[in-house]
């Protein structure tokens, strides 16, 4: 760590990990509600638990992105953060606003929360992932503006690197596209069409820029490979992400009342969407193979490689699996979607943030890498969580295929609930894998406290060619 203000990231990362634990606790609750339908009913009905699960995910990923930016930008810009006090202030505002929103979901009925927060003045609530009260959404915009100002001023008055500029572009896109969450027309087709301008253009658009920039940064640091090489990869990856992903939005317009041409455009362009993720895999393995030094932080290298592989599998392969319109006709809105969603979010966004945390946290704690034992424990948590997520995805895919057959494909289709009963075995298996994921996460948290023999500071170790 070269600049004092980088350590603000620690605050953000601790909050992110804390909320991550909360997210997974609600995840295993939801998994249980799938098989024991009245579990916690009517106190925490499924919709509330799901809202907490998904909103905690979004909030902690945003904490992770912001923390990553606060760590990465000063070092790239070769100067202290423009306004460290602002970063600290916004942290507390965001944390309190996030906590109050989650408590609101849990403590009062959602309709009462809507009334309490005067949703009628500007109705934005009650749409998937955008359930936050309007006042919270306004708070998110304010925090985002303050954050962008701080990061932007740091970059503009310091050294400008490709990584920091790509990161900034992604973060500006994140803030700009979030503004569509305030547009909620009565016309459901319009509502859905522009809802995707937040959801799709985030996760299959600008977030990929943020992710690629973070991955490139960590890879430069742990491999010592020439910046020129890494920047070329970065440009071509994000170029492919935008070229495929922008019109790829069309794969969400198949069945919402939009024109038929989206069936073709959405299918063709989203078939290209796995390419940037595949290039990310090639990129990560390529530069690690060409590394000029063996960084003592082995765990961070594992996370970086893992991100590249799992993002390709989850976002790329599992996305492609059901993205072609003739296939999606049968799979749309089934457990196949859930399978893809889980592995894509974990593989791309969860893992890239954990990569960044793994690399930077020891540095913020005054050492180059965690001690040997802590690293081994962290790597165990990597495998536990990653393998558990693979199984969650496989079980949900199994459930999805059977669901599609029984409910939509067979000559004598069953009703929704009758079909769900037949999927029970898959749901139980998924719940088991979910518990393993939770164990992996607890092991991960423990790795920060594990004592052991300190790793030698070997910044200059070079790999013999």
């Amino acid at each position: 760590m070269k600049y004092q203000s980088q350590s603000i990231a620690k605050l953000y990362f601790i909050a992110a990990i804390g909320l991550f634990v909360g997210q997974i606790l609600f995840g295993v609750t939801l998994g249980l509600q799938y098989v024991i339908g009245d579990f916690l009913f009517p106190y925490i009905p499924f919709n509330v638990a799901r809202m907490v699960h998904t909103n905690l995910l979004i909030v902690w990923l945003l904490f992770g992105f912001m923390g990553a930016a606060y760590y990465l930008v000063p070092e790239e810009s070769e100067r202290e953060l423009y306004a460290p006090w602002l970063a600290k202030l916004l942290f507390w505002i965001f944390l309190v606003a996030g906590a109050l929103t989650i408590l609101g979901y849990l403590l009062v009925p959602y309709a009462a929360l809507a009334e309490l927060t005067m949703n009628d003045l500007l109705p934005t609530m009650g749409r998937e992932f955008l359930e936050q009260p309007t006042i919270t959404k306004i708070g998110i915009v304010i925090v985002a503006l303050g954050f962008l100002f701080n990061i932007g001023m740091t970059i503009l008055t310091g050294r400008k690197t490709v990584i920091s500029l790509v990161l900034l572009t992604g973060l500006i896109g994140l803030a700009v596209f979030f503004l569509f969450s305030f547009y909620n027309p009565d016309n459901l087709v319009l509502d859905k069409y522009f809802w995707w301008f937040v959801v799709h253009l985030w996760v299959e658009g600008v977030w990929e820029l943020i992710m690629a920039a973070m991955l490139a940064y960590v890879l430069i640091k742990v491999t010592g490979v020439d910046r020129e090489v890494i920047e070329k990869w970065l440009y071509i990856i994000i170029a492919m992400a935008l070229i495929s992903g922008l019109i790829g939005t069309g794969h969400h317009f198949f069945w919402i009342g939009a024109p038929d041409y989206w069936q073709w455009l959405g299918s063709i362009f989203s078939a290209i969407e796995p390419i940037p993720f595949f290039m990310m895999t090639l990129f990560a393995f390529n530069v690690v193979n060409k590394r000029r030094r063996d960084h003592p932080n082995k765990a961070a290298v594992l996370w970086a490689l893992g991100t590249a592989v799992m993002a390709f599998l989850g976002a790329g392969v599992w996305g492609f699996l059901h993205t072609l319109a003739p296939v999606n006709f049968y799979t749309h809105g089934t457990q196949i979607t859930a399978a893809h969603g889980h592995m894509a979010f974990y593989g791309a966004y969860v893992m890239v943030i954990l990569t960044m945390i793994s690399y930077s946290m020891p540095l913020m704690r005054g050492k180059q890498a965690g001690n040997a034992r802590a690293q081994v424990i962290e790597m165990w948590s990597f495998w536990l969580m990653t393998v558990a997520m693979v199984f969650i995805t496989l079980f949900l895919t199994g459930a999805g295929i059977l669901q599609v057959y029984l409910q939509r494909y067979s000559d004598t289709p069953l009703g929704f609930m009758a079909t769900q009963d037949k999927l029970e075995i898959f749901y139980w298996a998924r719940e088991g894998a979910g518990l393993v994921f939770l164990i992996g996460l607890l092991v991960y948290v423990y790795s920060f406290f594990a004592k052991g023999e300190e790793v030698e500071m070997l910044e200059t170790t070079t790999v013999a060619n």
């Binding site: 009245d38 959602y110 809507a114 929704f416």
Partner: protein, 145 residues
């Protein structure tokens, strides 16, 4: 990557490709929005339907159900529930009204929302309107949703 492919070329593909396809998306969006009145059933979008949509939202129905395939996958698709329930808004209202307050032991059950008769009518009319949206290939594949 080989030296013939420079960083400058990669950068130009990023900026050029990004801007070009963003403009294409805007163009297609304008065309889509212009063409929507043909499919979006807006002729039946009454104030009652709009009120029903608000009720749909503030009770977080999307947290369990899908609507035109989007939402949660815990409870049935409702984009075609009007068709599934024999094109009867009374059947829809009857179902919503009949939900037991404390659920059904061991099974999934919709909460009891205690809607007023007017609210029930609004919700039912909203679901009828959604069913009237002309979706490609008349998705979902069958009435089970």
């Amino acid at each position: 990557m080989r030296e013939t492919f420079t960083k400058g070329m990669a950068r130009n593909i990023y900026y050029g490709g990004g801007v070009f396809f963003f403009l294409v998306l805007i163009g297609l969006t304008v065309d889509t929005v212009r063409g929507l009145p043909k499919t979006d059933n807006s002729q039946n979008l009454t104030e009652e339907v709009a009120a029903g949509k608000r009720l749909w939202e503030i009770n977080n129905c999307i947290g369990c159900h899908t609507l035109l395939g989007e939402g949660a996958y815990f409870a049935p698709e409702l984009g075609n529930v009007y068709t599934r329930f024999g094109e009867s808004t009374d059947a829809i209202k009857g179902f919503i009204m009949s939900r037991p307050k404390n659920g059904i032991p061991g099974r999934r059950s919709m909460p009891q929302f205690n809607f007023t008769p007017d609210e029930l009518e609004e919700i039912a009319q909203f679901l009828k309107y959604v069913d009237g949206i002309k979706v490609a290939r008349d998705w979902p594949p069958n009435k089970e949703g």
